[in-house]
Amino acid sequence: MGERDPKTTEGSNTDLVGLYSQMRRVRTFEERVGELFVRGLSAGSMLHLSIGEESAAVGVCAAMKDGDTFTTHHRGHGIFLARGADPERMMAEIAGKQTGYCHGKGGSMHIADMGLGHLGANAIVGGGIPAVVGAALVAQQRKTGAVSVAFFGDGAMQQGILYESMNMAALWNLPAVFVCINNQYGMGTRIDQATRATALHERAIAFGLNGETVDGLDVIAVRDAAQRIVDAARGGTPGFLAIDCYRFFGHARKDKSPYRDADEEEEGRRKDPVAFARAALVEAGHDEAELDAIDAAAVAEMDATIDFADRSEEPPLSSMFRDVFAVGEPEPEPLADRIDRVLARD
């Protein structure tokens, strides 16, 4: 795993250029999220960067089609971008602004866009997994041909709801895919401190799903594994894919990872899917200038997101009462109005 020669594999170099460029966009976006926080422009510090995990987002999304749906965990910026999100609206959401995808209500951990099939990021570990079973059930009954993909971290592997969900997906032959981005840590807990069953895909196989583990160093390998799993799911055999990678930085913006030693981090950060793809492209004959241009385009695109977020307005206070229920339904009465009404009685 991981040590493939890009020149001799089925993923063409053109594909790799595309995948590299997507991964670079993801990385640059995440770097800008870090900057947004440092500059005090983000809404809070609960921002989880997917740096080091770009191949998971980009590789799996490359195997998905228009009309497919997905949910993500709290570290889902890269996945959403790779499914076509507008990075400016994403950054505005992360800043809690009106121009964001959820008008500042959701933020980084609860971002969504139904137009792109994003049924929602989730701040509850494992919380978004069963919705994929529901979406897959509808796809099956309505014969839409869509698959639904749940993205989650290794931490969610110890949540019971994952097993209830996989079991039902297998029982009913649903077009559902479960993708575990195994960055080795759930906050400060290393995967082997959370479970003895570290061959994660075996659990899925036990429930009757297809199951594989792939090294996230090589985005082509991730894409190919994802293609197998996603295609089989589209045909009625749900699947599970674990992608091994390393969480380059702390859990959220304030975590400096004191529970990992420097050697381990250095070793972990050597598993860099973006650098690996770039090296593969160079080896395959792409010149540095071409790749630099891709990087520069990502920088220009993502720099603009901070300005956009910063320039955007806060949501109006009246929006607080909107969307508790459907448009057209009565909104909750503001507290101050109720108090005035009650006190005006006599």
């Binding site: 809404a43 809070g44 510090s45 609960m46 959401e93 809690g96 602004k97 500042g104 209500k105 959701g106 933020g107 980084s108 951990m109 609860h110 989730n122 701040a123 509850i124 570990v125 494992g126 919380g127 931490g155 969610a156 110890q158 949540q159 019971g160 759930g186 906050m187 400060g188 807990t189 401190q193 959370a194 479970t195 529970y259 806060e314 949501p315 206070l317 929006s319 607080m320 009462f321 508790v324 909750p332 009465e333 503001p334 507290l335 101050a336 109720r338 108090i339 005035d340 009650v342 006190l343 009685r345």
Partner: protein
């Protein structure tokens, strides 16, 4: 007297309880090596070891259920839920198991566990990490419910909770961890289940708990400058509920505001308001006024988050309207 934070008072309470009683242990996510998501258990593992600061996988129902079993088997677990918002996942273990075991089994056994968690707004943490869910707990017979608002109470209420024969849900407020106060922990605490009158004034009674105690006290200061004197009651424990302290304050004054960060409808303030109305009806000049969270989820937007829960300004403004 010593200067201490709410966080350190909680840590000291755990430390002292664990030193005195071998049966006390902590179980939860990141409670050991990491020291707790909000740092409450930081360093305790060095003194008490990984068995008594037991790090778990991310498996909330099993964490709470394990604490239930350990309590039944004779120990005194402190289960930690990183956010009260995750209580929904554990509701069966908490409400169908822990809360009902003594009763269903005809009094044969109790479940002397503490579920420590934290809630409330203040970090732009959004709809799934900012809630005030105490009403869910208060609604369930068989559960004690503690919500400390001061550093002194953080220490003593946790110590007292760890001596209870029944399950106690102990909800801290995330915005209070860094709050530092001058405290003398050697002063003996009020009896378990007693409210405390934090301030006395003849014009209005404000009944509240947890972080809103501070908003109420700030509001009372502001009002005092304008000639309005408020009594502020800090309930400290919602179950047991010290209604006598409320009654004694309310009857001579006849004007009451109840303040709670949780959503208004069917919330703690609603229960308190109903009880005061029933029991003190003849003494009331005005309806009991509830100042509570708006009936909406909490937003990530800093502005929306702040506007969706009571502030000191809102408490003061409401008091002025009541006395106008």
């Amino acid at each position: 007297m010593a200067q201490m934070t709410y966080r350190d008072a909680l840590k000291k309470a755990l430390h002292d309880a664990m030193s005195e009683d071998e049966d006390v242990f902590v179980i939860g996510e990141e409670v050991g090596r990491y020291g707790g998501a909000y740092g409450v258990t930081k360093g305790l593992i060095d003194e008490f070891g990984p068995e008594r600061l037991r790090d778990t996988p991310i498996s909330e129902p099993a964490i709470v259920g394990t604490a239930v079993g350990a309590a039944m088997a004779g120990m005194r677990p402190v289960a930690e839920l990183m956010y009260v918002d995750f209580i929904g996942m554990t509701m069966d273990q908490l409400c169908n198991q822990a809360a009902k075991i003594r009763y269903m089994f005809g009094g044969q056994i109790g479940v002397p566990m503490v579920l420590r968690t934290q809630g409330g707004t203040g970090r732009s943490a959004g709809a799934q990490h900012s809630q005030s869910l105490e009403a869910w707990v208060m609604h369930t017979p068989g559960l004690r419910l503690v919500m400390p608002g001061t550093v002194y109470d953080a220490y003593h209420l946790l110590r007292q909770a760890l001596r209870q024969p029944d399950p106690v849900v102990f909800i801290e407020h995330k915005a209070l961890y860094a709050m530092s106060e001058e405290v003398d922990l050697d002063v003996p605490p009020p009896d378990w289940g007693k409210a405390v009158v934090r301030r006395s004034g003849a014009d209005l009674v404000i009944v509240t708990y947890s972080r809103q105690v501070h908003h109420a006290l700030q509001a009372a200061e502001a009002l005092a400058g304008q000639g309005v004197e408020a009594t502020v009651i800090d309930l400290r424990t919602l179950n047991p509920l010290d209604f006598e302290t409320i009654r004694q304050a309310v009857e001579p004054i006849g004007r009451v505001m109840v303040v709670s960060e949780g959503p208004l409808t069917a919330g703690v303030a609603a229960e308190l308001s109903a009880r005061i109305t029933e029991e003190c009806f003849d003494f009331l000049h005005d309806p009991v006024i509830r100042v509570a969270g708006e009936d909406v989820p909490i937003s990530v937007s800093v502005a929306l988050e702040a506007a969706s829960v009571p502030s000191a300004d809102l408490v003061a403004e409401t008091a002025r309207k009541m006395l106008a």
